[in-house]
Symmetry: none
Subunit: 140 residues, 2 copies
DNA sequence: AGAAATTTGTCCGTATGTATC
DNA sequence: AGATACATACGGACAAATTTC
């Protein structure tokens, strides 16, 4: 097969498709992407090209790969969402920093942190729980 | 040639050598690195491996590549640059489920969970800590 | 505990496209 | 236009980590 990459190269097109699946919630944070072999079959691309596409997502922070295990979708900055994936539940609350978190943020233990939690359920079972922590006030 | 990468993989060893040349001044900032072809000959490695090595340097900010031109050595500012490069640190560990998590997953408290943690730092400060939890056993 | 299967990591060689000199 | 240099893509082989049986 020749190698015509007019406009967008193949690996970027594939990366765009996978990015869309992650950001749309089709592949929830914490779950595994299809294997390189599966993607090779689906997109009819070589493994090298698939790996290049996944590398793009890794650099964007949208995916994380583990040797022998697979590639996980990572929690992404969620924009204001009105329509939700039916099996995703989120909430926000304030928590007091324990020693470990306080040390990470460089604050006193007991300081208030903002916790965001998202719970993904599949077939009625809890599949993944994601929690993020930020400093309360922060200037950003 | 087979593919024995005991200890350090080939591309990382090559990256280390090139990094040393840049930081030592052997390849001054602003000048071009040897071409991929030349490096292929020098290190007796395939072009793909050479490109992998250069990619490492690019991610470190030590090199910058231009299509059709070559790869430039960049001034190595080792000091914390303001802003952009947010640093991401990740780890995985096994934790015992507390009451709350156990209840979410429908297991006994004390059950083993897999925790993924990623810490984003910007300007030397911890910006956000994300933790995901899932059951230890088999996957979806 | 150990073997087999699965999945990602590394490396090679080759061919062709695209940008720069 | 021609030469040079990086970009993209394919296919194959073996290594290493993880999971499954």
């Amino acid at each position: 097969m020749p190698t015509p990459h007019y406009g967008q190269p193949r690996y970027r097109a594939i990366a765009a498709e996978l990015r869309q699946r992650i950001e749309s919630g089709a592949i929830p944070p914490g779950t595994l992407l299809p294997t390189e072999g599966a993607l090779t079959a689906e997109f009819r691309a070589s493994r090298g090209t698939i790996r290049q596409a996944i590398a793009v997502l890794r650099e964007e922070g949208l995916a994380s790969t583990e040797h022998g295990r697979g590639t996980y979708a990572m929690p992404h900055a969620r924009l204001p969402e009105s329509g939700k994936p039916s099996d995703l539940e989120t909430r926000k609350r304030e928590v007091a920093a324990n020693e470990e978190l306080a040390s990470l943020f460089g604050v006193e233990a007991g300081e208030t942190l903002i916790e965001h939690e998202s719970i993904t359920r599949r077939d009625g079972r809890t599949e993944i729980v994601v929690r993020s922590y930020r400093i309360h006030q922060s200037r950003q």
